[in-house]
Symmetry: C2
Subunit: 118 residues, 2 copies
């Protein structure tokens, strides 16, 4: 379980709330790429890509090599996993709640069949 303060999770979800940034992450999931390589398929200016990369880097969804001149970007999955964990956790609570409701309804049906609860 990754511990994250609430603000960090907000940064991650906020960074994911843009189709271009999600497309950049989808591209990086297939392999590291430089800002130039990322700009190509989107027909975007270098400046626009750079802005998106900064948001993704700030949310720690990507990491960039500091030393190399081309500074290739790599997907950093720790925060992505934490975001998925948050959703899964609350989805699980919700599902359990409905499992309990199902059990309760099944119990009620059982009572009705055996003549109890009337």
């Amino acid at each position: 379980m990754t511990l994250m303060v609430d603000d960090e999770l907000s940064l991650v979800f906020s960074a994911l709330a843009d189709p271009t940034r999600r497309a950049i992450l989808a591209r990086l999931a297939r392999g590291d790429a430089t800002a130039n390589q990322l700009a190509e398929p989107f027909a975007m200016t270098q400046q626009a890509v750079s802005k998106h990369l900064k948001v993704l880097e700030h949310a720690r969804l990507i990491s960039r090599t500091r030393s190399a001149q081309s500074r290739p970007c790599a997907l950093d999955t720790v925060r992505l996993d934490a975001a998925a964990s948050w959703i899964a956790e609350h989805r699980r609570v919700w599902a359990e709640r409905y499992d309990r409701l199902d059990e309760h309804l099944a119990a009620l049906r059982g009572e009705r069949e055996t003549g109890h609860g009337r």
Copy 2:
């Protein structure tokens, strides 16, 4: 697989990018609640809660009964699942990529041990 246009997914991630809205969803995962009930634990004005609920409703993360005067809120999990799917899908591509890298490295090691590839 739920089909969603990009903008809908952006709305979902954007709605999740706020700690109070995530706390509201966490509360609703445990059971439906009215706006009044939701406002209590957060020490928020009715107006502030109402604003958050509108964002969640617009992203279709919650649904509200139109008829009843109290208009209880319920978690709507379809969009939440779609958001989780997006993350899981790209996480999978990334993981497969590293599995392939592992296989490649294992193959290289095998070659080295048998004297090939030198």
